[in-house]
C-alpha cells in the first residue's frame, strides 16, 4: 500500500511554525537538506512529507497529489473546491493566526467602514470608474463585499507585496492577510473598522476520498490526529501530586473529593506511601485544568498536603480521538454523496 503523503508549507509564515509544531507533537520532520522538497518523519514510518508552496497545498489535496497537509485556513477557504473531496481535519492548530482584512489608504479620511466604502463605490460607478481592490483572496473578498451591498469593484489579482499596490497605482485599496497590522500601517494603509473578512490560523486538511479508499493512509492520519489532538489538549491540563496524611485511602479520597471541581477530571488516584516516619501518608495524583492549578494547590494545602508537585503532561487522551471521529463522519458523508 502507498505511503501517506503529507504536504507542508515550503516557505512563508507557516513554514517554521509548522515544523516546530510537529516536532512538539513528537512528529519531528527529518529533511536531508533545505533544498530537498521531500522528507520523512522517523517516528512515523509510512509518511512521505512533501514541501509545497503554502498557497498550493489546498489545490494539491483537491487534485489528489497529496493526501493531507497543513496550511492556513484562509488559503483553504479561498482555494479548495467547495463540496469536493478536501475537508478540514483540524481547524485550529494554535499558530499562524492572522486576519484577512480590507484596508484603505490612510489619506481616505472619509472612509472608515464598509458602509463608507459602499457609498464610495457607487460614486466611482457614477463617474464611470470602478474601485480596484488588490487581493490574493478573490473568492472570499468578493463574497464579503457583495454581502455588504458593495457591487461595483474590480479585483486586481496580485501575489506578494500587495501593500504597495495603492502607491504604485494599480489598485485603490487592498484586502490581505495581516497578523498584527504593522505592515499595513508602515505602508500607509488602515484597516476598515468592520473590514475583517475572515480570521485564520493553521489547519490540517485532507482529501476525504483518498483517505477513505486506503486503510493504511487512514490509520496513519489517525495517528497524526491522535498526537496533535492530545498534544493540544495537554496544554490545558496539568498533573498534580501530593502526599496527604490520613487513615484509609477512602477517607483521603473523600476529603479531596469534598471539593469536586478541584479533585481532578476523573477524581484522584490515592495510594499508600510506605514511609518510615511513623505516619500514615497517602499519595494523591490527579489531572486538573491548568486554569485551576493554584486553587487545587490551595485545596491540597488545606488538607495538610506536602510535597505538592505539578508537572506538565505531554499528551492527554480522551476515550476517543475527537478529530478522527469527526473525520470518519465526513468520510461517511462523502460516501453518501
Amino acid at each position: 500500500m502507498a505511503n501517506l503523503r503529507l504536504a507542508l508549507p515550503s516557505e512563508g509564515a507557516l513554514y517554521g511554525p509548522a515544523g516546530d509544531f510537529l516536532r512538539e507533537c513528537g512528529l519531528n520532520v527529518s529533511r536531508a537538506s533545505s533544498r530537498r522538497y521531500t522528507a520523512t518523519i522517523p517516528s512515523l514510518p509510512g509518511v512521505d512529507v512533501l514541501f509545497q508552496r503554502s498557497s498550493d497545498i489546498a489545490g494539491e489535496i483537491d487534485g489528489g497529489s497529496a493526501d493531507i497537509g497543513i496550511t492556513g485556513l484562509d488559503r483553504f477557504l479561498e482555494t479548495h473546491q467547495e463540496g469536493g473531496d478536501s475537508v478540514t481535519l483540524f481547524e485550529d492548530l494554535g499558530f499562524g493566526g492572522a486576519s484577512l482584512v480590507i484596508a484603505v489608504p490612510d489619506g481616505w479620511l472619509d472612509v472608515t467602514s464598509l458602509a463608507d466604502l459602499a457609498d464610495l463605490a457607487l460614486e466611482f460607478r457614477q463617474r464611470g470608474q470602478n474601485l480596484r481592490i488588490a487581493t490574493k483572496y478573490q473568492r472570499l473578498v468578493s463574497r464579503a463585499l457583495h454581502r455588504q451591498g458593495i457591487n461595483y469593484f474590480t479585483l486586481v489579482h496580485a501575489s506578494g507585496g500587495l501593500e504597495a499596490a495603492p502607491v504604485m497605482g494599480y489598485a485603490d485599496l487592498i484586502a490581505d492577510i495581516s497578523a498584527t497590522g504593522t505592515t499595513l500601517r508602515e505602508n500607509g494603509l488602515r484597516p476598515l473598522i468592520d473590514g475583517v473578512v475572515c480570521n485564520s490560523q493553521a489547519a490540517i486538511i485532507g482529501n476525504a476520498r483518498l483517505l477513505a479508499a486506503d486503510e493504511k493512509k487512514l490509520s496513519l492520519t489517525r495517528e497524526i490526529l491522535e498526537r496533535v489532538e492530545s498534544f493540544m489538549r495537554a496544554r490545558d491540563f496539568q498533573r498534580v501530586s501530593a502526599n496527604i496524611e490520613g487513615e484509609t485511602e477512602a477517607q483521603v479520597a473523600e476529603k479531596v473529593m469534598a471539593k469536586r471541581d478541584l479533585a481532578g477530571i476523573h477524581g484522584p488516584t490515592v495510594a499508600s506511601v510506605f514511609s518510615d516516619d511513623g505516619k500514615t501518608w497517602f499519595g494523591v495524583q490527579m489531572v486538573v485544568r491548568r486554569t485551576d492549578m493554584i486553587r487545587v494547590v490551595d485545596h491540597l494545602r488545606a488538607l495538610g498536603g506536602s510535597g505538592i508537585s505539578v508537572s506538565q503532561a505531554d499528551y492527554v487522551f480522551r476515550a476517543k480521538c475527537e478529530s478522527y471521529e469527526e473525520l470518519l463522519g465526513k468520510l461517511a458523508y462523502q460516501d453518501a454523496r
Binding site: Q81, E82, G83, G84, P105, D106, G107, W108, L109, D110, V111, T112, S113, L114, A115, D116, A118, D119, L120, E123, F124, Q129, R132, S142, R143, A144, H146, R147, G149, N151, Y152, P166, V167, G169, A171, D172, L173, G188, R190, P191, I193, D194, R337
Partner: protein
C-alpha cells in the same frame, strides 16, 4: 486505460424520470392557471450579463451569483431569479407602450449557497415558476398578484396555503420621516430581518461600530485606526492648499476626500435619532398575525414615536384588495418585519407559505426596477415566484407522482 468516474458538481442535482414528470406537470398546472388570467409564458436565457443582477438586486443575491467570463469576454452570470431578466426583455423589446403586460415563466435558477446553507444540504439550483404584472399599480394589482399566487398553490395540491404580507415602502417612509441620512437608512433597512429575529443588541453594536451611534465631533476626533484625527485632516487639507499630499490616495484627489469627509460630518445623523429608529423598527418588526390587529398595533407604535402612520392605510387597502380578489381572510396574515432579501422591492412584499408554515415562495412590488434597467418611463410592477422543489415536496397530488 481505466478512467476515473466523473461526478456531477457537488451543489447541483439530477432529476430522474419520475421527478421530471412531476416538475413538468407542476409547470403545466401553473401555465394553465395563469393563462386563464391572461398571463403568457416567456423564456429568457439562463445566462445574462452579471450587471443585470447587480444593478438593483444586490446584497445576498449578488454574493450567490454563479459568475464567470464567457468565451466572448462578457462578464456573465447564471440567472438567480427571473424578474430582472423578464424586465430586461420587456424594456429591450420596447413593450412598455403596451401596458399592462402579464408574463409568466418556469425554469431553473442558480444561487450558490452560503456555508450554512451548504451544510444544511441546500442545492445550488432550484426550479422557479412565477408571474409578473407589469404596468399596473395600486392595491388592486397587488391583490391580483397575491390571489393568483395563492390560487396556484391550491391547484398544485398544497394543503391550506397562506400569505404573509409586509410593506417595505412603510419602513422607507418612516426612515424618511425621521430625517436620517441615506447611509443610516440603508443600514437600518438591512437590519430589519435581524431586528425581527430579536437581535436588537447586535444591531446596536454594529451601529456603534460604524459610528452611527456617536456624534460627529467624536467621529472626526477619533484616532487614526478608526477615523480621521485632526492631525490627519490637517495633513491632507494643508497639502491640498499648497503642495500635494505625500501619501497615496489611489484614483482619488484630495478635494474628493475632503468633500466627502465634510459631507459625512455635515450629514452625520444624531445618535439619538438612530437609536430611536432602531427601537421603533425593533418594535414594528416584531408585529405579526391577524391583519387588523397587527395594523392597529403598528399604528400605536408609530404614533408612539410621534410619526405619521398614514402609510399603514396602504397596507390595509392591500389586505382588502387581496380579500376582494377571492382570498379567504383567514389565509392572510400581516408581518411588519417582512422585508425580502432582494433589494428592488418598493411596496408590498409577501411570503407564500404551506399550512405548516414553510415558505414556498414569495414576491412583491418593485416600482423602480423598470427605470433602473433602462426603461424610459416610470412603470409600476409586481410579481411572485414559487420554489417548485419545495412546492412539489408539499403537494398532496404531486409529491408521490
Amino acid at each position: 486505460m481505466v478512467f476515473d468516474s466523473i461526478k456531477k458538481l457537488p451543489l447541483l442535482k439530477d432529476y430522474d424520470a419520475g421527478e421530471w414528470v412531476r416538475f413538468h406537470q407542476a409547470s403545466e398546472i401553473c401555465r394553465t392557471a395563469l393563462s386563464e388570467r391572461g398571463y403568457r409564458r416567456i423564456d429568457t436565457p439562463i445566462i445574462e450579463l452579471t450587471e443585470l443582477f447587480l444593478r438593483k438586486s444586490g446584497g445576498e443575491l449578488a454574493a450567490q451569483l454563479y459568475s464567470f467570463t464567457d468565451p466572448g469576454g462578457y462578464e456573465v452570470s447564471l440567472r438567480p431569479e427571473f424578474t430582472a431578466p423578464v424586465i430586461r426583455h420587456i424594456v429591450e423589446t420596447r413593450q412598455l407602450g403596451h401596458l399592462p403586460l402579464r408574463c409568466e415563466y418556469s425554469g431553473p435558477v442558480f444561487r450558490y449557497p452560503s456555508v450554512d446553507e451548504f451544510n444544511n444540504g441546500m442545492s445550488g439550483s432550484f426550479t422557479q415558476s412565477g408571474a409578473e404584472l407589469i404596468g399596473s399599480g395600486g392595491p388592486d394589482a397587488d391583490g391580483e398578484v397575491i390571489s393568483i399566487a395563492l390560487d396556484g398553490l391550491h391547484r398544485l395540491g398544497v394543503d391550506s396555503p397562506t400569505v404573509s404580507l409586509g410593506h417595505v415602502g412603510i419602513i422607507w417612509d418612516l426612515l424618511m420621516q425621521m430625517d436620517l441620512s441615506e447611509r443610516a437608512q440603508l443600514f437600518l433597512i438591512n437590519c430589519v430581518p435581524m431586528l425581527a429575529a430579536g437581535d436588537k443588541e447586535v444591531v446596536s453594536e454594529r451601529a456603534s461600530q460604524i459610528g452611527l451611534l456617536e456624534n460627529g465631533e467624536a467621529m472626526a476626533m477619533r484616532g487614526t485606526s478608526t477615523g480621521a484625527s485632526v492631525e490627519q485632516i490637517d495633513a491632507v487639507l494643508g497639502h491640498s492648499l499648497g503642495s500635494s499630499y505625500s501619501g497615496s490616495l489611489g484614483q482619488r484627489s484630495t478635494d474628493d476626500v475632503l468633500r466627502r469627509l465634510t459631507n459625512k460630518i455635515k450629514t452625520k445623523d444624531s445618535p439619538e435619532a438612530v437609536q430611536t429608529a432602531i427601537d421603533l423598527l425593533s418594535k414594528l418588526s416584531n408585529i405579526s398575525g391577524n391583519p387588523a390587529e397587527s395594523i392597529a398595533q403598528g399604528r400605536k407604535v408609530i404614533k408612539g414615536a410621534s410619526l405619521n402612520d398614514e402609510n399603514l392605510g396602504i397596507l390595509e387597502d392591500i389586505v382588502m384588495a387581496v380579500e376582494k380578489a377571492g382570498v379567504e381572510a383567514n389565509d392572510i396574515t400581516v408581518d411588519l418585519g417582512l422585508v425580502r432579501e432582494i433589494s428592488y422591492y418598493t411596496g408590498v412584499v409577501f411570503d407564500l407559505k404551506s399550512g405548516d408554515d414553510q415558505v414556498l415562495g414569495g414576491g412583491g412590488r418593485y416600482d423602480s426596477l423598470v427605470t433602473a434597467l433602462g426603461g424610459d418611463r416610470e412603470t409600476p410592477a409586481a410579481g411572485f415566484a414559487y420554489n417548485m422543489d419545495r412546492v412539489i415536496a408539499r403537494s398532496e397530488t404531486l409529491k408521490n407522482g
